[in-house]
């Protein structure tokens, strides 16, 4: 591996990310899968970094899931997105940051389509006006929320309590990065680092002290793939994709996986349970799995937030061995306590995948 070759490519795929004043839109599904991640994004950007991040409850789905499942016309998706832009315009912002990778890809694709076919943009403006009497300006800057954390990775490291380092050996932890397919595979120049060797997550890993693992199936889909999972008959295909990735990364003995997509951490985390129950195979040490984190969760850990406030108890794969390796303190008895210290009940334990 020639690291300088990657650096050369990264230098050609840098995007302009404004420092402040962002209109933030959440994902449809992330709050169900990893409930503290988006909360941690606003916590870090507003309270740790002092940035102006605005959001509105009027924001809706972008229509991306339906679009990628082929169940919605493109004009309808565009009109939904035009309404989101109208909300941003009404709020007085011009920098648009999306939490969801598919939304980000959706916005990028629509803006590019309007650029190529301006008559379509005119049509969508008419449709939006007819539907809800709204007008909009297009975002001056479009970013994914991982772009912002990437931009401020150095400040997060400087303010952090922990580094991604084995406290016993001092060695950097070995971290797999998994980029959502809709981040840069459609428009390489819209993502930090391009499509083939993105550095948006690897940059965070390195800034926070870890070592990036490049393994053969790094580019492969996590297994979600929309129609692979949402069409029930295809779910075996979804699982086999995830299985392929784990078989490929296993020889590198990763300590954790970091992702920037709503679906990827969910499927990489939950399918490890299914693989373990079906085949008896686990990919971590001593019968554990490989923990899968969102970048907000990992940033939160670096900054010293309580793991249970980050929602890590809702992961299928146990995170405790990873926390122990770094030396992050946690209270095992508080794992299944809610914010008000009320017991939120314990899940049943799998047979083969070791969990607490």
């Amino acid at each position: 591996m020639i690291y300088q070759g990657k650096q050369k490519i990264w230098s050609e795929y840098q995007k302009e990310i404004p420092d402040d004043h962002w209109y933030y839109v959440r994902s449809c599904i992330r709050q169900n899968f990893f409930p503290a991640s988006e909360r941690m994004f606003t916590e870090i950007t507003r309270n740790v970094l002092g940035k102006d991040i605005y959001e509105t409850p009027s924001h809706t789905t972008c229509g991306g899931i339906a679009y990628h499942c082929d169940t919605i016309p493109q004009e309808t998706v565009m009109t939904i997105v035009a309404r989101q832009f109208a909300l941003m315009t009404e709020a007085g912002y011009e920098n648009y940051v999306a939490s969801c990778i598919t939304s980000f890809g959706n916005y990028a694709e629509i803006l590019e389509t309007w650029h190529e076919f301006p008559e379509l943009e005119t049509k969508i403006r008419e449709l939006l006006w007819k539907a809800c009497k709204k007008e909009f300006k297009k975002p001056k800057y479009l970013a994914h929320s991982s772009d912002l954390i990437y931009k401020f990775r150095g400040e997060i490291a400087a303010k952090g309590r922990f580094r991604l380092v084995d406290k016993e050996t001092g060695e950097p932890l070995r971290i797999v990065e998994h980029i959502g397919c809709h981040y840069a595979k459609m428009f390489p120049h819209k993502g930090v680092g391009g499509a083939e060797y993105p550095c948006v997550l690897s940059g965070m890993i390195e800034a926070w002290g870890g070592q990036v693992i490049d393994y053969p199936e790094r580019r492969h889909c996590c297994g979600y793939g929309f129609r692979q999972y949402h069409v029930q008959a295809n779910r075996g295909y979804s699982l086999s994709n995830t299985h392929k990735k784990f078989e490929s990364m296993e020889p590198y003995h990763p300590d954790a996986i970091i992702t920037n997509c709503p679906g990827c951490p969910y499927f990489l985390d939950r399918w490890q349970y299914v693989i373990a129950e079906q085949t008896g195979k686990t990919y971590g040490r001593d019968g554990f799995g490989i923990p899968v984190f969102t970048y907000e969760e990992l940033a939160g850990l670096v900054l010293g937030y309580d793991p249970w406030d980050l929602g890590l108890q809702l992961h299928q794969v146990a995170v405790e061995p990873f926390l122990d390796k770094i030396g992050i303190e946690y209270d095992p008895s508080a794992k299944y306590k809610g914010l008000d210290k009320k017991d939120i009940l314990r899940p049943g334990l799998p047979q083969n995948l070791k969990c607490f």
Binding site: M1, G194, D214, Y215, P216, E217, R219
Partner: protein, 340 residues
């Protein structure tokens, strides 16, 4: 001996062939070559298809033939101005030449394979280009190959050729047969190696090329897979893992290789473009210089006293380049003797 000055820009096989022919016609041409040696790309090649003739033979023969010419090595043309029926050619060494005729023979550049990021050139150690492999055939020295036993190797055709995304829609003509030649040479060095060629479609139009292709399969057991390589990655042991589609069997292919060779195509040598366009020579849609026409006046620029030869006007094989250079030399002679 004629007193007419003829400046030949480019000391590759086109420029050398034209100079050789002009010397025999009684002129003393002036060759201006940017690098420190004559021979261009061919000087870096090991053997030439389809007869496996050593490339050095042709370069050495031409070098001997042009030894009486005036040769400026490591020299660039800064600009050319037209003055009545002549051209003032200014060189970066301070020399100014008043030439009655100028031949542009600046050839091509090899496509920069790092632009095809998915193939991992410059990222993965065991990914080479056709030029890298050819140098290794010639010198026997490459850290990626020294001391390694190649058991499995692959060749990717059309790297940067016929590729809209790469900005090059032209076929580079020579890559298909060069891949076959290099696969055979590699097989001769490593007789037990398994070798795959991944191609879009094979364009083997030249004399004996098809025989060459059949021999590669029959005598050397080289596999030809019709399909594009989608991505390349590196395994734990440093070998490269190649994913492709076999469009004939309709199945995906995944192979682990000791070596992957990218057949980088030809792109225009853009260094001459500002000078050429200042003299009224247009660029064609493929980025190469535009001839007066592409059928009967390929070596003519359409400008008096200004001629073109070889791969500066498009992708060419070695025989095509030599034929064009001879033709250009004759046209220059006719131009100078029959009146301007």
């Amino acid at each position: 001996m004629s007193k007419d000055n003829i400046v030949i820009i480019g000391g590759g096989i086109a420029g050398m062939t034209a100079a050789s022919r002009l010397l025999r016609l009684g002129y003393t041409p002036i060759i201006v070559e940017e690098s420190d040696h004559l021979g261009g790309h061919v000087a870096e090649w090991h053997k030439l298809f389809p007869d496996m003739a050593p490339a050095q033979d042709i370069v050495q023969r031409l070098a001997e033939e042009v030894s009486a010419a005036n040769i400026f090595l490591s020299t660039r043309v800064l600009f050319i101005n037209r003055l009545h029926d002549t051209y003032i050619v200014m060189l970066n060494n301070g020399v100014s030449i008043q030439a009655q005729a100028v031949l542009i023979a600046t050839g091509f550049n090899l496509f920069d394979a790092t632009k095809k990021e998915e193939y991992g050139y410059g990222i993965y150690d065991q990914v080479l280009t056709n030029r890298d492999l050819e140098r290794w055939f010639t010198t026997g020295d490459d850290p990626r190959l020294n001391g390694h036993e190649v058991k499995r190797a692959g060749f990717v055709h059309c790297v940067g050729s016929r590729d809209v995304k790469a900005g090059n829609t032209q076929c580079s003509k020579v890559c298909c047969v060069t891949a076959i030649k290099q696969a055979i040479e590699l097989k001769e060095k490593f007789p037990d190696a398994e070798i795959w060629c991944f191609y879009m479609d094979l364009r083997l139009f030249g004399k004996k090329y098809e025989d060459f292709y059949i021999n590669a399969q029959k005598d050397y057991g080289i596999h030809f897979i019709r399909g594009r390589v989608s991505e390349v990655s590196e395994g734990l042991d440093g070998r490269v893992i190649v994913k492709a589609e076999d469009t004939l069997s309709g199945k995906p292919v995944k192979v682990t290789l000791d070596l992957l060779v990218l057949m980088s195509g030809m792109v225009c040598n853009a260094t001459i473009n500002p000078i050429a366009t200042s003299l009224g020579i247009d660029l064609d849609s493929d980025g190469f210089l535009r001839s007066k026409d592409n059928i009967s006046h390929i070596v003519s620029s359409g400008r008096k006293g200004l001629f073109l030869a070889g791969a500066c006007t498009g992708t060419k094989t070695v025989p095509e380049t030599i034929a064009e250079a001879n033709s250009a030399a004759l046209d220059i002679h006719l131009y100078l003797t029959e009146g301007k």
